[in-house]
């Protein structure tokens, strides 16, 4: 009986182990093909920091014809800066634009601090800005684009079942720069540049297994962390910060 058990089960166990050894390299290669590479370069021109009772607002640059900064990354950074025990006072960007309408519409928003200075010469605009409590305006410029894709997948369904076979991949690049303006000093206090690339893969052996890289989320987290230090630390350093996951 025991001999018969060995005869029936041993070949089955042996074939399973072979399958695992065959699939493991494919799985590891697939895992190695996806990931995120990020580069963040901060540059701060002054040692000014946010004070008690002062707020920041994150606004998207919308004057470009070819792209527009996505609202979701603006919201992500705003929420990130406001969260936590050391959260900053962050003014809602839509409410800020509505209160200052029409002066921060895409065609009207100041592009330079010189234009900002001219805008704030209007007494009603200056009073409205002061009433919001906002001292720092963070202009977010850039976008996330798909830079490459490839592979293929075939799916079929029949009476006996359904499944997919193949491998698809795509690479997204999130490039943003966050420029911080000090409204009280009417000057730019610095810029943080972020370039985050993410490659996603979707192997399919019967069932597609999505391995999604999220470079925009990584860019949000990186910029939020850097902006928090930028606004709260007078000894904030300069220079590139690279990492890969």
């Amino acid at each position: 009986m025991q001999h018969l058990y060995k005869q029936k089960c041993y070949p089955t166990i042996k074939s399973r182990i072979s399958q695992i050894f065959l699939l493991a390299p494919i799985f590891l290669i697939t895992l190695g093909g996806c990931g995120i590479t990020s580069r963040i370069e901060p540059y701060k021109q002054s040692d000014v920091v946010i004070g008690e009772g002062e707020s920041v607002v994150v606004l998207a640059r919308k004057h470009h014809a070819t792209h527009e900064t996505e609202q979701r990354i603006v919201d992500c950074i705003s929420d990130g800066l406001a969260s936590g025990n050391d959260g900053l006072s962050v003014h809602n960007n839509i409410e800020f634009e509505d209160k200052l309408y029409p002066w921060f519409e895409p065609s009207m928003a100041p592009i330079t601090t010189v234009e900002l200075s001219e805008l704030l010469e209007r007494e009603n605009v200056l009073n409205q800005v002061l009433s919001t409590g906002v001292r720092f305006v963070i202009w977010l410029d850039g976008s996330t684009t798909r830079v490459a894709s490839g592979g293929g997948m075939t799916c079929a369904a029949g009476i006996g079942g359904a499944g997919c076979l193949g491998l698809g991949w795509w690479e997204d690049d999130s490039i943003y720069d966050a420029t911080v303006w000090d409204i009280y000093e009417l000057s730019s206090t610095g810029t943080i540049y972020a370039d985050v690339k993410g490659r996603s893969v979707m192997p399919a052996l019967v069932i597609p297994i999505p391995l999604i890289a999220r470079p925009q989320l990584a860019a949000c987290r990186g910029l939020t962390q850097q902006l928090r230090q930028f606004l709260t630390s007078s000894e904030y350093g300069n220079g590139p910060n690279t990492s890969s996951e």
């Binding site: 509505d98 309408y101 009207m108 409205q128």
Partner: protein, 211 residues
């Protein structure tokens, strides 16, 4: 057996009607533009204006069939009224609304001029569902200024452009239209006094005031 055959065919017929209705619905998109337009932060011009919002403006509906896409029905009438009334109430010391020029004759002594805006052109483009694409809207109004006796002072075309990232098609179209309308409001509220004919008219009232 014959009764069963009739019952089955009725059921199939009902299913066919429902399916056809669903298919027809998916081939058309209807957008009713909704938005809250903020008051512009500008100095009021010290003139009292009559404002004509006629039925063409208040009931404006744009219908268009895009190639390889659904038919779009876009209702902008209500948004027109919201945007223009809010805008002009903030720009002038007093605004009185009328539906027709003939109704103004009894109120001539109370107003300095008459504004009659017209939605002249509306164009839009919706991408075919690819990544990194935007819904775009171009909108142009014609702002006509009349003397109270009906004499035309000037016609001023004002256009606005709006775009919105396409995540949901109808929601993006609504956002793009609102952005374009806000741009129109921004231009009107900040450039009104800069138009030569309008500047001369204001100076003629001896009530000109810089923004």
């Amino acid at each position: 057996m014959d009764r069963m055959r009739v019952w089955l065919s009725r059921t199939q017929l009902q299913a066919l009607v429902v399916l056809t209705s669903l298919l027809l619905t998916s081939c058309s998109t209807s957008v009713w533009v909704e938005a809250d337009f903020p008051q512009p932060l500008v100095n009021r011009l010290p003139v009292r204006m009559g404002l004509i919002l006629d039925d063409d403006l208040l009931d404006y509906v744009h219908y268009e069939e895009l190639p390889r896409q659904a038919a779009y029905t876009i209702q902008i009438g209500e948004a027109n009224e919201l945007m223009l009334v809010q805008l002009f109430q903030s720009m002038f010391t007093d605004i009185e609304q009328f539906n027709d020029f003939s109704l103004i004759q009894t109120n001539i002594a109370e107003i300095d001029g008459v504004l009659w805006p017209e939605l002249e052109r509306f164009e839009f483009d919706v991408p075919l569902g690819q990544r990194d694409e935007f819904v775009e809207v171009w909108i142009q109004y014609l702002i006509k200024l009349y003397e109270t006796d009906g004499q035309l002072v000037t016609e001023w075309p004002v256009s606005g452009y709006g775009k919105a990232e396409m995540v949901d098609r109808e929601e993006a179209l609504n956002r793009a239209i609102v952005v374009a309308m806000r741009e129109v409001g921004a231009t009107i509220s900040t450039k009104f006094s800069d138009q030569p004919d309008l500047r001369n008219w204001l100076q003629g009232r001896k009530n000109a005031a810089p923004l």
